[in-house]
């Protein structure tokens, strides 16, 4: 077996074991209904996590995704309900704004030589604040397109529903995998995460790639915002609070190395599903309170970081990287 795939296998094995354990306790969890809901309920998280995967592989971090999701839901609602635009046009505008927002952050990270952490923190404040300035209150979205989309689904054998937003997430994951592993941009991202200096010397266009990575992350956060507004039929400035942390957790649990240069988009998918599993288990159990989700996710995060540490300190000479710009 390729040893580079070990963390991915470990994550998948843990997910499978956890799912089997959950099924033994609650046989009803083995149904396409539950699986369909996994996809629908975590669609926005999954889409944002794909963008986060690229950012983290490149050695950076994007704290603004949750805020961009919130901003996009509000922008969508304002464009559709107040300005009366067609939702498709509103989607295009929102995606453009979110992508441009990411591009500006990428440019700031590259040209101002500041850690991505602090630039995206500023982005987070700006997007959250901007959303509240647009509308501090929740705006309900009523449009035929919204009802049509939320009503249409593919019926899976066993009564499960594969909704449109679940499908969007799956498509994003497939495209993300192709982008990461089969394109030149993908190899640039990995090279950048390995070492920015060597990547530059090898001829990787560092400036363009950095800007594109954050543009991609912003674009996907915007898409996640649209999915979120479809999911809730509303725009609210405080929606998706703290989703950046869930996305980072999903990426890490999926086996991506936080120092950059190594990781899988497919692993992130398992990471998102594992978080969905924890939430669903807690709902099924009924006696456990919702705050256990946070504790279990924190515990899993710790476990996987520890695992990475052990696998990589055995496999390679020790690297000391604390901050990546």
């Amino acid at each position: 077996m390729n040893r580079a795939l070990r963390p991915l296998v470990a994550t998948t094995a843990i997910f499978a074991l956890a799912y089997i354990a959950a099924i033994i306790q609650f046989p009803a969890m083995l149904s396409t209904r539950v699986l369909g809901n996994f996809l629908t309920d975590n669609a926005f998280l999954g889409i944002a996590a794909v963008g986060m995967t690229f950012v983290i592989i490149s050695g950076g971090i994007d704290l603004s995704v949750g805020a961009v999701i919130g901003f996009t839901t509000v922008l969508n609602a304002v464009l559709i309900m107040w300005l009366g635009l067609h939702p498709l046009l509103a989607f295009a505008i929102s995606l453009g704004v979110a992508a441009a927002f990411g591009a500006v952050m990428g440019a700031a990270i590259h040209y101002l030589k500041v850690p991505s952490f602090i630039v995206t923190l500023a982005g987070m404040f700006l997007a959250r604040g901007g959303a509240s300035v647009l509308s501090p209150d929740s705006i309900g979205i009523k449009h035929e397109l919204y009802t049509t989309i939320s009503k249409s689904y593919i019926l899976l054998p066993g009564g499960g529903r594969l909704t449109v937003i679940g499908m969007i997430m799956l498509v994003v994951f497939v495209l993300g995998m192709i982008l990461a592993h089969r394109t030149r941009f993908g190899s640039y991202v990995y090279a950048l995460g390995g070492s920015e200096v060597s990547a530059g010397l090898m001829g990787v266009p560092v400036a363009r790639t950095t800007i594109l990575i954050y543009t991609l992350s912003g674009f996907l956060a915007g898409l996640a915002g649209i999915v979120f507004s479809l999911y809730t039929s509303a725009g609210y400035s405080l929606s998706a609070l703290g989703v950046e942390l869930d996305a980072i957790a999903a990426v890490v649990i999926g086996g991506t190395l936080l120092t950059g240069g190594y990781g899988f988009v497919a692993g992130t998918f398992i990471g998102v599903m594992l978080q969905g599993l924890v939430q669903t288990y807690i709902v099924f159990d009924g006696s456990l309170s919702s705050w256990w989700t946070k504790i279990v996710i924190g515990g899993l995060l710790f476990l996987f970081i520890l695992l990475q540490r052990l696998v990589f300190s055995a496999a390679s000479p020790r690297r000391k990287v604390f901050w990546k710009t």
């Binding site: 952490f117 602090i118 700006l126 509240s132 309170s289 020790r318 604390f322």
Partner: protein, 332 residues
């Protein structure tokens, strides 16, 4: 002994920024600098800025030390919630207030120690190591309070949040004492130098004979202690422990305060008093936005504007350009 250059220190851009923000507040609200003495306690907008800014200032003291070692502590907000929850639950359970405060501070120390162990012995990047506690910490706090907001009426705990000593509100007194003690410890002993050495280059510091592991452990534990102190103040202020909202996003404010204070996120040179000034600038802006009638959310936009301004000013590209311009001017 080195004389402190007071004039140079007071001319720093941070003081100019604080003065500018206070001046704008004064223009918006002419009574801004009025201070009255009522029931043996000082009241006024300036006192309010100091009082409200105290928790972030306390967090910033611990955060400064952590950032000086090239790290960051994202868990301080969650630790605040845990400490507040522990104190509130113990007090409502009949324990004495002193015991509850001691237990809360101990929990804060333990949380900091946990972060320190992850960073030092498992060699996990600080941002990720502390992320674990940031995610799990709020859950733990809710576990302690069993999901409800635990209210208390214990006079000692309330005194920490709302009492006053010599006319000064307690949070200000605590923050000032902590800042003074921390500054004296790092500047009157070699500790500050050692922290800077570890921040600049950990391997080099180790080869120079500094036990960098122990130092990092102490620094993260101290940050946990500061967070627990801030947590006690916030809990005392609202007379209850709110596991969901106590200290929410304050870690970001604390990091911002440190960055405004001029400590580089890349480690090395640091200044605790300047971080406290940074915290006061943030709070003065908050208060200014509130009294000028904007919605509190507008705050976030202003804050991000300030971060962007600082980043641009600190960027190597801009400083090179400025230097080139001054050289040109001198040549003419």
């Amino acid at each position: 002994m080195k004389r402190i250059d007071w004039r140079g220190a007071l001319l720093r851009p941070q003081f100019a920024a604080l003065a500018a923000v206070l001046l704008i507040n004064w223009l918006l609200f002419p009574g801004f600098f009025d201070i009255t003495l009522q029931d043996g306690r000082l009241f006024g907008s300036v006192i309010d800025v100091l009082n409200r800014g105290a928790p972030v200032a306390i967090l910033a003291i611990g955060m400064t030390a952590v950032i000086a070692t090239k790290g960051v502590d994202l868990s301080v907000g969650a630790v605040m919630a845990i400490a507040g929850a522990v104190a509130a639950v113990l007090v409502t359970g009949g324990a004495s207030a002193i015991f509850a405060v001691a237990a809360a501070l101990l929990v804060g120390l333990l949380c900091g120690l946990w972060n320190g162990i992850l960073v030092t012995y498992l060699e996990i990047q600080p941002i990720i190591a502390t992320l674990v506690l940031m995610v799990a910490g709020r859950g733990l706090a809710q576990l302690v309070t069993e999901g409800s907001i635990v209210t208390f009426s214990d006079p000692v705990l309330i005194f920490i949040g709302t009492g006053s000593l010599f006319g000064m509100p307690m949070p200000i007194v605590i923050a000032a004492v902590l800042a003074l003690v921390a500054t004296l410890i790092v500047r009157k002993t070699a500790l500050g130098l050692l922290i800077e050495a570890v921040g600049v280059n950990r391997s080099a510091a180790r080869f120079a004979g500094i036990s960098s592991g122990l130092l990092l452990l102490v620094v993260y534990t101290f940050a946990g202690f500061c967070a627990a102190t801030a947590g006690l103040i916030v809990a005392g202020d609202i007379r209850g422990a709110d596991a969901n909202n106590a200290g929410l996003w304050l870690e970001l404010d604390a990091i911002l305060a440190v960055v405004i204070g001029g400590t580089s996120l890349l480690g090395g040179r640091f200044s605790i008093p300047m971080s406290v000034v940074g915290a006061l600038i943030i709070q003065a802006m908050n208060t200014g936005i509130l009294i000028s009638g904007f919605s509190p959310e507008f705050n976030l936009v202003v804050k991000s504007g300030v971060i962007i301004l600082i980043l641009v000013l600190q960027a190597p590209m801009v400083s090179q350009w400025l230097r080139a311009r001054t050289v040109e001017r001198k040549a003419q």
